[in-house]
């Protein structure tokens, strides 16, 4: 009985020791973490910083690692937190700058009574849905339009479409109110659609 227990402990310890090895982090995970970050923040410099910060916080939290998840999963979770921290900063800056300038950036799309400003009214793309989904050129234009969006809006899209987060979670992570969130989602889409219409037709 006793020896069995001992065996188990020794065995458990050796697994943990194998599970975390910071000496090998760079060679094992650096590229993977970098790509993960790059897909979400779109800036090479920022992605690099995030990878570095991830390793540094992981070193500090080394004692907390219990081996319940793999080392890789654990590092990704830390990185994801860092990415969300960054998004939160963008959200705060966005809301702050809008509050300061008092400019309602969407207003131009709609008249005072809420009706479409005829200059920006939606016109058919002249392309049926299934065709658009497979159309490379259409994708490229949408990509360019996405790149032009304020960082904050892109952050919301990433959380929504890549991470598949629910509205509630996004609000909590970004520390924005639900009503602000819906306004952001609406504005982003109205802008994106207009950009697509302008460049496609």
């Amino acid at each position: 009985m006793n020896s069995k227990l001992e065996d188990k402990e020794i065995h458990g310890e050796s697994i943990n020791r194998r599970a975390v090895d910071p000496h090998l982090w760079v060679s094992r995970y650096a590229d993977y973490l970098y790509r993960y970050a790059l897909e979400r923040v779109q800036s090479e410099e920022l992605a690099k910083d995030l990878v570095q910060e991830t390793f540094l916080s992981a070193l500090e939290k080394l004692m907390d690692f219990e081996g319940r998840s793999s080392e890789k999963t654990w590092l990704i979770a830390i990185l994801k937190n860092k990415i969300y921290d960054n998004f939160r900063g963008k959200a705060a800056a966005f809301i702050h700058s809008n509050a300061q300038t008092g400019i309602d950036q969407e207003r131009v799309f709609f008249n005072d009574d809420g009706h479409w400003n005829l200059k920006y009214r939606p016109l058919a793309f002249g392309l049926e849905d299934p065709d658009a989904i497979g159309n490379k050129e259409f994708h490229n234009i949408l990509q360019k339009c996405l790149d032009k969006l304020p960082a904050m809006w892109l952050a919301v899209f990433v959380m929504r479409y890549m991470e598949d987060e629910k509205a509630q979670v996004i609000c909590k992570e970004l520390k924005v109110t639900a009503s602000n969130f819906w306004v952001i989602i609406h504005r982003a889409k109205v802008n994106l659609r207009e950009c697509l219409q302008k460049n496609w037709r």
Partner: protein, 88 residues
Amino acid sequence: MITKRKIRTDCEKATFLIEKRQMTKLTAYEYFYMKFHLTFCSMCRIFQKQSKLITQITKKILHLSDKSKFKLDEKFKEQLQALIEKKL
């Protein structure tokens, strides 16, 4: 008081609800508002169709990354390695 005329002309509110509906359930009132508006407004019907299309393609674009071949440069990796060794 919100009149039917107001509902018919307020495309801003209608498009807002169209977006909201793609992520969450609308209240009965909101749903009625949106449906009623769409009955009269061909522009917002176009918007609704295109908005869903944009959602679909954006999802695809974000997932289908051409960044899978990206790698960190060796110099940066060396710096990272040195940093970790120093902290250990």
